[in-house]
Symmetry: C2
């Protein structure tokens, strides 16, 4: 067989150079058995001289472990996405795991990544906010492939990593109450998202505890996207009794609301105190800068990855993690610089 000019160096060459068998090279590679110190040194030296990098493929085949994790992200332009990859990647790479990334277009269904991940024999999975079918997750789990779900809740028994939307919404509402606001309105995000539901619940429960309630005319529908907050706010400004506080389900809509309020000749926070959610760059940029809540996205990725790697080492898969969402106080709520 012709020698490939620049082929990778294999375990055989290392063994030959160190004058040992490949078993021994493998042993120092895996640090399992005892190897005589001197032999070890020789092998190590040979590996270094030849710049040997063991083939993950051959290893994976022999060990029946691919040392890689599958990672699926939604197709949508999620501003948080970068943070979660970093969180995941920062734990996987140091642990010697590769990260196989697939972005899942919402329409396609599940097959795209399931096929790829099965072929590649991924050891574990981290799925971010996508449309997973429960059956698929169970299928993986049955094969002892741990799965962590981020921002996606499809069963109490599955390992899911979420953010405490409810708690942050309570805190934000509390804060509005502390500023003396009593007629607090809500600008909703997309109806069907759990985030929206939880934030709304936080608002309503906190109001209820304070003996307040939220009449229908102080509830306006938005869709998280640009522009919707503007129209929602206009609707909220119709009734004679205007709200004195507004909780928007995200910063984008809060920023839109700001414009609608200003156009009406009213001031934030003097006439209407306003809070958003997410702490996107825009939030600190509008005037006045928004009081909002910052989701620990990086941490979400980190913890999900740690859980999967832990499970691979035999630890039980933590069932449900809910990370606290700190609120960040700026000026739109009435706090001064």
């Amino acid at each position: 067989m012709r020698q490939h000019k620049h082929a990778q160096v294999t375990i055989d060459e290392v063994a030959r150079r160190a004058r040992v068998s490949i078993s021994t090279v493998s042993r120092v590679l895996n640090e399992l058995d005892r190897v005589h110190p001197q032999t070890r040194e020789r092998v190590l030296a040979a590996m270094k001289d030849l710049n040997y990098q063991p083939s993950a493929y051959a290893r994976g085949l022999a060990k029946q472990r691919s040392q890689t994790l599958g990672f699926v992200i939604p197709n949508i332009s999620d501003p948080f996405f970068l943070e979660v990859v970093r969180g995941v990647e920062d734990v996987t790479t140091p642990a010697g795991y590769g990260l196989l990334v697939v972005s899942q277009p919402a329409a396609t269904g599940d097959h795209r990544y399931m096929k790829l991940f099965t072929e590649r024999r991924v050891d574990g999975l981290v799925l971010v906010a996508i449309d997973v079918r429960r059956a698929n997750v169970e299928h993986m789990l049955r094969r002892h492939i741990p799965v962590a779900l981020i921002q996606q809740d499809i069963g109490d028994d599955l390992a899911t990593f979420r953010v405490d939307n409810y708690g942050a919404a309570c805190a934000l509402t509390e804060h509005l109450l502390e500023h003396g606001r009593r007629r607090i309105a809500y600008i909703a995000g997309s109806d069907h998202t759990p985030d929206n539901a939880e934030r709304f619940r936080g608002l309503r429960d906190t109001l209820a505890t304070a003996g307040l309630h939220l009449p229908p005319e102080r509830l306006a529908k938005g869709d998280y996207l640009r522009g919707s907050g503007y129209h929602a706010m206009q609707a909220l400004l119709q009734p004679a009794e205007r709200p004195d506080g507004v909780f928007a389900a995200n910063d984008q809509m809060a920023s839109d609301a700001l414009i609608a309020i200003r156009e009406r000749g009213l001031r934030v926070p003097e006439d209407i105190a306003l809070v958003g959610f997410d702490d996107v760059p825009l939030a600190s940029y509008v005037i006045p800068p928004l009081t909002t809540a910052r989701q620990p996205i990086y941490e979400l990725g980190r913890q999900a990855a740690l859980a999967v790697l832990g499970a691979l080492d035999g630890a039980p898969l933590a069932a449900r993690v809910v990370l606290p969402v700190p609120i960040v106080i700026r000026h739109s709520c009435g706090c001064s610089s």
Copy 2:
């Protein structure tokens, strides 16, 4: 040997069920040789019945091809990042390639991903805007591993995919001139970045062509980041003869400049026309919305990935691709709604 309860199904089981040898199964898998239609049907049926997914590991080992691409992204919170992964991923997954993602902290040096990628025997590499050493790229190329560089220029002979900063800067400046502006100032991004240099060159060359020049007092240093545009703009407003147009190297700084201008009691675009670069969400949000340029990030990823896959099929690696950057006209330049 104990039968693993949920082990993956292998080629042997398929062969047995289809009553052929594994060679034949392999043949229908790879569609290389002729296989009798009826045999093929039997094999296909068996594969389907057993839900067979060939092991990418065993295949990679036998074929000496991993069918995966390495992908490195910078650690920084690049708002464009998501778009480029999507661009890359949208071509690799359909082509049956996996994408191994690593984020490269600037400080660490190159070893982190070089080691991982060598171990995993990636077939090709896409490197985004990171600090690659030329030696590393050459090392890969010598092993016949095609490398595409995105937004990173370290040699005329390497396949690099860039965006036409210069052309867009020319167009933007041209546009300012068309609005009758003659005293055009520049708010620079970080000195050392090629993007900044190219945008600046575009401005200066276009001014020169129009018989204009850019005196030192109309050149202010920024660093792309929040706040720097504000101070830069204040400096530009010092001289008695104020600029009547400002080109900021990115939207963030342009937005900052907007505030500084307004604080000075001047209006955009009436007193000073303003343009930015990048078309981040903020750009369309500030008042007046910014005229700017939109980089084709997704396309950058797509083309780089296509080039690498092409090279893997024997095509020559396209040396240099520069994608046009359309400018997006809004109101900060003086155009009306």
